[in-house]
């Protein structure tokens, strides 16, 4: 008789299989398999049932499929102070990635979108190259809660609007969209007051389109023109273009810009917050674009 037969006969002999089993009769490994089928919030809810469920909820197998395939690279890049990824459980890695992690000083943030398991990046205007940004005749910098970075740049008046950015990041394989978050008209909010006053009188020069472009290291290049004056007074995400990442293990290099350099007229009254990059699945789910 081979080793296989005796293993079938004796392995798991200690686990009695009752004819009418209860959940409590399941070994921890089976409970982990059940939990793997659930969303993170559901897993964490059921972890409170009893100690076996809690223990099962900590298993790497439950969280591994919820992480991007290149999470080990991301951990090395983003958690460098916290030790190597070997010392962190998959659950810990997941919980940390779910919350925005700053990188590149405080000018950029990355997080794992819970609902779609995609990696998202936000780049503050402070992380972009803006012509004349330090010249107070043209741009002012405003502290505000309307931005996740708590600051926006406001264009008072200028002939030459040019904003450029670069990013090198190990995006997991997939399709992504890039947006500029912009608003025409300056919203001001007095401290302690909820009233927002939108100063639209200063807005002018947007009757000619703005040029957007995006280039990625896999050779894709998108250029488009868009009029900004449709939704004055509201923050809008202007879609620049999409890019595809095929290899999660090679950094993707992006170059993107917006420009309106027609010198026949000045532009005024633009609020610039940040650039966002979302996986296409997240864009579809969030439905605010």
């Amino acid at each position: 008789m081979g080793a296989g037969f005796s293993s079938l006969a004796t392995e798991k002999k200690t686990v009695t299989h009752p004819s009418n089993p209860n959940i409590s009769d399941l070994p921890e490994s089976c409970i982990a398999s059940i939990l793997s089928c659930l969303e993170p919030s559901e897993i964490c809810k059921l972890a409170r049932l009893n100690k076996t469920f809690h223990q099962a909820s900590l298993a790497d197998v439950v969280w591994a499929s919820k992480l991007p395939e290149n999470h080990e690279i991301l951990v090395k890049k983003l958690f460098s102070e916290e030790g190597s990824s070997e010392s962190l459980s998959k659950k810990e890695i997941f919980s940390r990635l779910c919350r925005p992690i700053p990188f590149s000083g405080d000018t950029k943030e990355v997080w794992l979108e819970n609902s779609s398991r995609g990696i998202c990046v936000a780049i503050s205007w402070k992380g972009l190259k803006i012509t004349g940004i330090d010249d107070r005749r043209y741009w002012t910098h405003i502290s505000t809660d309307e931005s996740r970075f708590h600051t926006i740049a406001y264009l008072q008046q200028m002939w030459w609007l040019e904003v450029e950015g670069n990013l090198e990041f190990e995006f997991p394989a997939g399709n992504y969209s890039l947006f500029f978050r912009l608003q025409l008209g300056r919203a001001s909010k007095r401290r302690g007051s909820r009233r927002i006053i939108n100063n639209l009188e200063q807005v002018h020069g947007w009757n000619k389109p703005v040029q957007f472009q995006l280039a990625s290291s896999n050779g894709e290049h998108v250029a488009s023109k868009c009029y900004l004056n449709e939704a004055a007074g509201k923050w809008m995400h202007y879609h620049v273009g999409d890019f595809v990442v095929e290899n999660s293990y090679i950094p993707t290099k992006l170059n993107f810009s917006m420009a309106q350099i027609d010198c026949t007229h000045t532009k005024a009254g633009l609020c610039l917050d940040s650039v966002f990059i979302f996986p296409i699945e997240t864009v579809n789910k969030l439905k605010q674009f």
């Binding site: 296989g4 059921l46 409170r48």
Partner: protein
């Protein structure tokens, strides 16, 4: 001697019922696959932890999944009907799939079990599925605090 593709195995349940199954179908259970590859030459393979009720279901599932003519949509429809069993039977199949190391069946049954459990609050799950709470109040609060991030 029959050709390898047609070789059949006899699987014997814990209550001594014998089932004839094609080897190519049965090896979806990795435990059985390992036995066959080890050169097991028994007349019948005894499955000490699987009764005839569960074994009949498992064979039904195995045969559907081994059928190369069934499409993904047909398999999905089959799964939907297959899991419509009393909850205790769902658990019994999970235990059997675990014992036999049958990944496809494990996935389908665990998913069914998860779908059943996620509908309820923690207290309701404990009541419905007779789960003993072995936490003190402080311990349970600690678990809740540990996982606050999942609900943000």
């Amino acid at each position: 001697m029959s050709s390898p593709e047609e070789k059949t195995l006899i699987l014997k349940s814990s209550d001594n019922e014998e089932f004839l199954v094609k080897e190519s179908v049965a090896v979806q259970c990795i435990t059985i696959k390992n036995l066959v590859e080890d050169g097991c030459d028994l007349d019948a393979i005894p499955l000490l932890n699987v009764d005839s009720k569960n074994l009949a279901w498992i064979i039904e599932f195995m045969e559907k999944y081994a059928d190369s003519t069934s499409t993904d949509a047909e398999k999905k429809d089959f799964d939907t009907e297959f899991v419509k069993k009393p909850f205790n039977d769902v658990l019994g199949l999970i235990l059997a799939a675990n014992y036999l190391n049958f990944p496809a069946l494990m996935d389908v049954m665990c998913d069914a079990c998860a779908n059943e459990m996620k509908l309820w609050s923690v207290e309701q799950v404990r009541e419905k599925f007779h789960i003993q709470n072995d936490y003190t109040e402080e311990e349970e609060k600690a678990v809740r605090a540990e996982n606050f991030w999942a609900f943000e």
